[in-house]
């Protein structure tokens, strides 16, 4: 067993599998995780604010940027995580598998870290494709795993800190990097040690004394041994270049769904700018929300309720109020966004009409009866914002049914799920 594990490590040895590479890729991956976690938390609290929380309403594309970044950094995790796992893979064959209590905990935490990371990025990506092949609720699990992963990341950094600091800088002599030191190439001995049979590794020497495995295993090992080894510096450069190109490719060919300059090369994004009714993509349809009849009913009114007083507005009455034009993006939790022109009544004007206290937050209620976002809350910072509208028109036309006809909310810096479509009632939340 011991010999097998050792032979496995030896067979897997490669110039890119060294602590310097693990540090270089690890810090990029760590940064991507932290960016995902930060932007993810922001998205979470926008949707489920704690009582004391207030949010910035400018820049008006703030959420487009934070959630777009979440998905971009998340997609970048695919090549980065795979690269990291490739580098550290021989560690799986450590012998003895467990060297005591702390070592057991460390290995267990690494296993969980690897598995949870893979699950987190996979369900995140598939969620943006609106494909949910897992037996658990996405949002709750993704949120919990976010904390779990950040915890494991911090533990991992703590455990590996000596290695990380040692290999942080390229200049570090034992790093296996390319620095030339008085004509002596510092990387050679490192690679020799890895490839085992040329180094002065005690373990190697001792194991060489013993007979190598025979039979099928022996033949497989011999086959691997007789394979030419890759050049070390070339391998490392090739590896880093490959990771860089792969990351650029997955990000560059999808980010056009939120980042306009890349729209032309949006080959694999799950959404496309300008594709949808009135040039705007749709998430929840009137059919899913079962609102078509109620929304098209000519008896529709929007009720505004403040401090016991209620007033209902027909669409014609809303159109007769002062209209405001705004340019605001729809920015989805799934990472796509679309800039659009909206016309409608300022929510602030409606609130003032009802003499609402400027300090009150509002509750927005949709015609949709079920669905997690049929009733949502809007903090006073959005209610008082001059860009927040009860929108009646989109891109110069009457709002399409799929975009929330007869009336919907549009406010700066909020996720699409909170831009309530098919409005039915707006009420002040009395405190």
């Amino acid at each position: 067993m011991r010999r097998l594990m050792y032979e496995a490590q030896r067979a897997l040895a490669s110039p890119v599998r060294n602590p310097r590479m693990a540090t270089v890729i690890g810090r990029l991956l760590g940064a991507a995780f932290l960016i995902c976690f930060g932007t993810g938390l922001y998205s979470h609290f926008l949707q489920e604010p704690l009582d004391w929380m207030r949010f910035a309403t400018r820049p008006e594309f703030l959420y487009q940027v934070t959630q777009g970044t979440h998905i971009i950094a998340g997609i970048a995790c695919f090549p980065l995580l795979l690269a990291k796992l490739h580098i550290v893979f021989p560690g799986l064959f450590a012998y003895p598998p467990v060297r005591g209590f702390w070592n057991f905990l460390e290995r267990a935490s690494i296993a969980l870290f690897v598995g949870a990371s893979l699950v987190q990025i996979t369900i995140g990506l598939l969620n943006t494709y609106q494909w949910y092949p897992w037996p658990f609720p996405f949002r709750q699990v993704h949120f919990a795993l976010g904390w779990v992963l950040i915890g494991l990341l911090v533990i991992h950094i703590g455990v590996k800190l000596p290695t990380i600091t040692r290999y942080w800088n390229k200049a570090s002599k034992a790093s296996g990097d390319d620095d030339i030191d008085g004509g002596h190439r510092a990387d050679h001995h490192l690679v020799d040690a890895v490839s085992g049979d040329r180094g002065e590794n005690d373990e190697a020497a001792r194991l060489r004394g013993t007979t190598r495995p025979g039979g099928l295993t022996g033949r497989a090992l011999h086959y691997i041994d007789s394979t030419p080894r890759a050049a070390s510096r070339l391998s490392r450069r090739g590896f880093l270049t490959t990771v860089g190109v792969a990351t650029t490719a997955v990000v560059g060919l999808t980010a056009g769904q939120t980042f306009t300059p890349l729209n032309a090369v949006n080959l694999f994004g799950p959404r496309k700018k300008g594709v949808g009714q009135q040039g705007v993509p749709v998430n929840r349809t009137s059919k899913q929300a079962k609102v078509a009849d109620a929304a098209m009913n000519s008896a529709w009114t929007l009720t505004v309720a403040v401090a016991g007083a209620e007033r209902s507005f027909t669409r014609a009455e809303l159109l007769a109020l002062p209209q405001t034009d705004v340019t605001l993006p729809i920015a989805c939790v799934e990472g796509w966004s679309q800039m659009a022109f909206w016309r409608g009544v300022r929510l602030r004007d409606l609130a003032d009409l009802m003499s609402a206290d400027p300090e009150t937050s509002f509750r927005l209620i949709s015609l949709e009866e079920r669905g997690s976002f049929s009733k949502t809350q809007m903090g006073r910072e959005y209610v008082r914002d001059p860009l927040t509208l009860v929108a009646l028109e989109l891109n110069g036309e009457t709002l399409d049914l799929e975009h929330g006809y007869p009336a919907r909310m549009i406010a700066p810096g909020r996720p699409g799920v909170l831009q309530t479509k098919w409005l039915s009632r707006i009420e002040a939340i009395e405190s």
């Binding site: 602590p19 021989p90 494709y129 609106q130 590794n201 090739g238 792969a246 997955v250 799950p270």
Partner: protein, 192 residues
């Protein structure tokens, strides 16, 4: 801590937090050669990180049990276990075998060309990894026509063709450079 102070580069177990390095084989930096005060500082920082991380992890576990129905949690565990298996037992061995195969097939080819071809295959595979699910998901009739609106199969085909062309072009360029003798530096230690 300084790297040069480490005389031996093999094997000694890190004792700081009672854990050892797992990266690489037998090249673990020993904790030797650091002064007492930096080592004490390092120790403190490490324990603080590990402690803070454990708190975050515990909070994450609490959130999981708080938000997700108990009957759903085995599903999460199953997915995590399956992900580890899928990577360690299937994906990684395939990558390993492909690497061996490529290096054997390329015995007569310059190391640079092998590296370029290998890079091309990896880039194409990773892009396919995120693109193929769009093709699959589109088959399940998305909720509306604005979800997955592109022809992803066609796009992936175009992508592979462009990638193949770039790989061939780059390889040809590398070969020409080597023929002219300026590729020596890149070739350095490949003939060992």
């Amino acid at each position: 801590m300084t790297a040069s102070a480490n005389g031996s580069r093999h094997g000694s177990a890190g004792v700081n937090v009672g854990v050892t390095e797992t990266v690489g084989t037998g090249l673990n930096p020993p904790p030797a050669g650091i002064t007492a005060s930096t080592s004490r500082r390092m120790r403190t920082i490490r324990w603080a990180l590990v402690g803070g991380g454990v708190l975050l992890l515990a909070w994450g576990a609490f959130v999981m049990f708080d938000l997700v129905r108990l009957t759903r949690i085995p599903g999460v565990a199953l997915w995590i276990a399956a992900a580890i298996l899928l990577h360690d037992a299937i994906l990684a061995p395939i990558v390993f075998a492909l690497g061996i195969g490529l290096r054997r097939a390329g015995r007569r080819v310059s190391g640079t060309v092998i590296a370029i071809v290998q890079g091309g295959i990896v880039v194409g595979s990773i892009v396919s990894l995120i693109a193929v699910p769009t093709i699959v998901a589109k088959n399940f009739a998305p909720a509306n026509a604005t979800v997955l609106p592109l022809n992803y199969g066609l796009n992936l085909g175009i992508f592979w063709i462009v990638l193949a062309a770039l790989t061939v072009g780059l390889s040809a360029w590398a070969v020409m450079r080597e023929r002219r003798g300026s590729g020596v530096r890149l070739q350095d230690d490949s003939e060992r």
